[in-house]
Amino acid sequence: MKVKSGSDPDFPRFKAGDRVRVRKAYPLGHIRTPYYIRGHRGVIERFCGVFGNPEELAQMRSGEPRQPLYRVRFLQKDVWPAYRGNPEDVVEVEIFQHWLE
C-alpha cells in the first residue's frame, strides 16, 4: 500500500460516509486500534484531523508520518456475534488512516 504523506494530493483519503474496513493485523508495539474492531467494516462518521502516530510516539520517536484520524461507525450486530439490542445500535471508534482500507 502506498504510504501517504502530507504532501500527497489526496490526503486525507476518506470522508464522512465512505465505507471502510479495518485491517486485520496483530503486530507488536503500542497500538490504538482495539482488537475487537480489527477486520470489521464500518462507515466514516467524520474526519477528525491529522495527528502524530501513537505507535511511533510510544517509542519516543516523532510520531511521523502524521496520520489522518477518523471516527468510524460500526453496527454492533456486525461486531459482536451474540449482540442483543437494537439492530441499529452502533459503536464509534477513532481509527488512524493507516489502519483503514
Binding site: 490504538r32 486500534t33 482495539p34 475487537y36 477528525c48 484531523g49 495527528f51 501513537p54 484520524l69 471516527r71 454492533q76 461486531v79 459482536w80 449482540y83 442483543r84 439490542g85 437494537n86 441499529e88 445500535d89 452502533v90 459503536v91 464509534e92 471508534v93 477513532e94 481509527i95 488512524f96
Partner: protein
C-alpha cells in the same frame, strides 16, 4: 485524613512518587510549586464545568449548534479553559442514547470534568460498555427503550467526549444556574440522565 503523630511506612509506590518528584526537582525539570499548582488546578476541574456547558446548550440553540460543531471552542466561548482538549459533544435524542468509554485505558475529558471515577477505569466497564451497553446501563439503573438506538463512543485516540443529555420536561422556566444542578457527571458520560429531584 491523618492524625498528628500517627505515621505508617511509605508503600513502595509512594516511595517511588516521592523519589521521582525529588529527583526531577533537583534536576531542575520541575519545581515543587509547579506540582502543587498543577494539583490545585486539577482539583478545580469538576463536573460542574461540564454542567455549565450543557445548561447553556439547553437554553441557547445557537450555542448548542456551535457546541456540537466544535466542543473545545464552545467551552472556551463560555470562559472554560480546556488546554489540549479536543472535545466532541454527542447529543442524546428521543431516538438515540450516547455512552462513552475508553476500552484501551481511561481517556476522559479531564481538562473539562476533572479526574474520572474509578468505575470508568475498571476492567469491567471497559470490557462490557462496548459489547453489552444495555446491560451495563441497567446496572447503573438506566433502562433504554428497545426502540431507541445506543451509540457507544470508544475514546481510542485524540478526541474526548461529552454527552449532551436531553433536557427534561418540566424545566422550561428554570434558570441556567438551576439547570446545571441536575446535570451530573454520570449524565455526561452517558450512564445516567438528568432527573428532577
Amino acid at each position: 485524613m491523618s492524625e498528628p503523630g500517627k505515621y505508617q511506612p511509605y508503600s513502595y509506590f509512594q516511595l517511588m512518587e516521592v523519589s521521582l518528584r525529588e529527583l526531577l526537582v533537583e534536576k531542575g525539570v520541575l519545581t515543587e510549586a509547579q506540582i502543587a499548582d498543577a494539583v490545585e488546578d486539577m482539583r478545580q476541574r469538576s463536573p460542574e464545568r461540564g454542567a455549565q456547558v450543557v445548561a447553556r446548550a439547553w437554553v441557547d440553540p445557537g450555542y448548542k449548534r456551535r457546541l456540537l460543531a466544535d466542543g473545545t471552542k464552545a467551552c472556551e466561548e463560555i470562559g472554560l479553559d480546556v488546554p489540549a482538549l479536543r472535545l466532541v459533544v454527542v447529543e442524546n435524542t428521543p431516538q438515540t442514547h450516547n455512552m462513552i468509554v475508553c476500552t484501551l485505558c481511561s481517556c476522559y475529558p479531564r481538562m473539562l470534568l476533572g479526574i474520572p471515577p474509578d468505575w470508568y477505569k475498571s476492567r469491567n466497564y471497559r470490557s462490557r460498555a462496548v459489547s453489552e451497553p444495555r446491560a451495563v446501563l441497567e446496572e447503573f439503573g438506566l433502562s433504554i427503550d428497545k426502540n431507541r438506538t445506543i451509540r457507544v463512543h470508544d475514546s481510542t485516540a485524540d478526541m474526548r467526549y461529552l454527552v449532551l443529555p436531553m433536557r427534561p420536561a418540566g424545566t422550561e422556566d428554570w434558570s441556567e444556574e438551576r439547570l446545571t444542578s441536575i446535570v451530573t457527571r454520570d449524565c455526561m458520560i452517558g450512564v445516567a440522565v438528568p432527573k428532577l429531584s
